[in-house]
């Protein structure tokens, strides 16, 4: 499939195969990884493992999506990890307060979540205003918010995970669509009532509820980027702020919206985290969620300079990083190699991006 021009041999880079590989290298790599790990790791290639990885990565998907919008405009948001922690801790605090005040469990959860999601617009608003009106570089502005959000989260939680939340939370967050006891019975949304807990391994669990949740969220975001004016303007600003300005686009207002969206998604991740774990937790320094979100987006083909990137590709990026860790761990590889693998992958992603700049 190498195209031939008179008198000129085309190299691999320009061939159709080469270009396909470059545009989809992350997905190809993912498939390759899955194949290799299914051999090297016991139980790697199992529905349980796959579902588990995807389920646990819900937060990562949300954070990567948050970063993607910002990165397309040529900026960056370092505060997402800590805004997530702040949301988690804030919602937990609210739930504790509401429960103590006697509010019913259902209303407590709904009210706390609503309040936190609305309040989450604030960090993004501040980020956006500082960046556009005060012309502070995004790296610094969000670095500042990183510290502020972290400090606030620690203040609220006093450094401890926050418990005392409704028990029903982890049940909602971790439930599956379908539970099957092979040869016996099945039920929806919750494991069968009189099924003993210690026999849980016998159950076949299909499709964690987090999966449709994240798919819907990502689908909405992807649609926005590709088919709505908001998305089109985002790409334009990323490619040339001048072009956007002179076309009459209100760049400042748009950027503020982008950062608000980012912190909203980060807060959504924090809220979801409470549903997954049942406790409110601040984000530790070592977790480095924001860096992994950026890494996933870059592996997914976005460029830090802006103008490029897609939601589903970033999702693939998240999966690549997640399965890399998962596969290596299951295969018994020491942490040493895992960190190196992620590092190398990142560099490869960027180099490929440089060699094939036209890939969308």
């Amino acid at each position: 499939m190498v195209s031939e021009r008179a008198g000129e041999g085309k190299n691999f880079i320009d061939s159709r195969a080469g270009r396909f590989l470059a545009a989809n290298w992350a997905a190809c790599f993912l498939v390759l990884m899955l194949i290799v790990f299914s051999f090297t790791g016991k139980n790697f290639l199992s529905i349980a493992n796959f579902q588990n990885v995807v389920h646990l990565q819900t937060v990562a998907f949300l954070l990567a999506a948050a970063e993607l919008f910002v990165i397309i405009t040529g900026g960056i948001d370092l505060s997402v990890g800590f805004v997530m922690g702040l949301a988690s801790v804030g919602a937990a605090k609210l739930m504790q307060l509401f429960l103590a005040a006697g509010l019913g469990v259902g209303w407590t959860i709904v009210a706390s979540v609503m309040i936190v999601l609305v309040a989450s617009l604030l960090p993004g608003l501040i980020n956006g205003i500082v960046i556009t009106k005060f012309k502070v570089p995004p790296f610094i502005a969000t670095l500042g918010m990183y510290g502020i959000a972290n400090g606030l989260a620690l203040k609220i939680s006093q450094g401890y995970p926050m418990a005392g939340l409704p028990d029903v939370l982890p049940s909602i967050g971790n439930s599956y669509f379908l539970y099957v006891h092979p040869g016996d019975f099945f039920s929806f949304f919750a494991k069968p009532a009189n099924f003993a807990d210690h026999r849980i391994r016998e159950l076949l669990r299909i499709v964690p509820l987090s999966l449709p949740f994240i798919l819907i969220v990502l689908a909405i975001l992807s649609f926005t980027l590709r088919r709505r004016r908001f998305g089109r303007h985002t790409y334009a600003i990323g490619s040339s702020m001048d072009a956007a300005l002179r076309s009459g686009i209100h760049v400042d207002a748009h950027l503020i919206r982008i950062y608000v969206l980012s912190s909203f998604l980060a807060a959504l991740a924090g809220v979801f985290n409470i549903f997954q774990t049942g406790i409110g937790n601040y984000t530790t320094f070592n977790a480095q969620y924001e860096f992994f979100a950026v890494a996933a987006v870059v592996v997914g083909g976005a460029s830090l300079a802006g103008g490029k990137g897609r939601i589903w590709n970033s999702a693939v990026g998240v999966l690549v990083l997640a399965f890399l860790e998962n596969g290596l761990a299951i295969s018994g590889v020491q942490p040493f190699y895992r960190y190196i693998a992620v590092g190398v992958l990142l560099v490869v992603a960027v180099v490929i991006d440089k060699l094939f700049p036209d890939m969308r």
Partner: protein, 252 residues
């Protein structure tokens, strides 16, 4: 014949510096007016005032004889004044249609409810404009990163035409182009003139000016030092006006 665009006594100061000093110009329909001057002469500032980037301290702008309030780029666009800057201000990662419609995208209703970008119709309209200007661009689906300098210039011009520009300001349009592409751009300018559009051309290329411009105005240190009909003058005279070896006062 009345002027399409006229400026009267436009003045702009920045601190202690008078960048533009009581400049009056007139541009007729279907005419190309070249604006010349050395660096720092005030050409860019004057252009920016006409396109709404700066507000003048004194003076007025008239469009088709009527006084116009131009206080922002959007006002200028609304008045039919489009500017093509040296850096083109195009989005590299978008295709031709998207660029032409940037900021004014066409939407269609999907499933009756959602408003969605109507890329197909934007591409069709883009093709029409390109045809009208006799520009050839092979694939409208690719991003403009794949286009040559001259083609990009054409896209920038097409954008202005689509939005019914009455006045087109071109800042150094052929500066970064190869010879054959320069020729194409000049042809385009002639086509635009035929269609009745008024063009203000900033250029250092004498060749371009003498090829397509009808009149020219020379600025020096913020002042208009001379205006000539291109047919009746020579490059030497123009250069000496720019540099100042002729003794001139302010011409009004």
């Amino acid at each position: 014949m009345s002027y399409l665009l006229e400026t009267k006594d436009i003045t702009k100061r920045f601190g202690g510096l008078t960048a533009v000093d009581h400049v009056s110009l007139g541009l007729k329909r279907g005419e190309a007016l070249a604006l010349l001057g050395d660096n720092g002469a005030g050409k860019s500032t004057l252009i920016k005032i006409i396109s709404g980037v700066h507000k003048p301290d004194e003076g007025e702008i008239f469009i088709d004889g009527k006084k116009a309030r131009i206080e922002s780029p959007i006002d200028a666009l609304a008045a039919g004044i489009e500017t093509i800057y040296q850096d083109l201000a195009l989005a590299e990662n978008l295709d031709v249609g998207a660029n032409i419609f940037l900021g004014r995208e066409r939407m269609k209703r999907s499933l009756g409810v959602l408003k969605v970008l109507d890329d197909k119709s934007m591409r069709e309209e883009a093709q029409k404009v390109l045809d009208r200007l006799d520009i050839e661009i092979p694939s409208l689906k690719k991003t403009i990163r794949t286009l040559s300098g001259g083609q990009r210039q054409s896209v920038a011009i097409s954008r202005s035409i689509y939005w019914d520009a009455k006045v087109l300001i071109m800042d150094e349009p052929t500066a970064a182009l190869g010879v054959s592409e320069q020729k194409k751009v000049l042809d385009l300018v002639r086509t635009l003139k035929d269609q009745g559009i008024g063009i203000i051309l900033i250029s250092h290329q004498m060749y371009d000016i003498f090829e397509v411009a009808d009149r020219l105005a020379v600025m020096r240190r913020g002042v208009k030092v001379g205006e000539r009909i291109v047919k009746d003058t020579t490059p030497d005279e123009v250069v000496s006006l720019m540099v100042g070896s002729e003794t001139v006062g302010k011409e009004r």
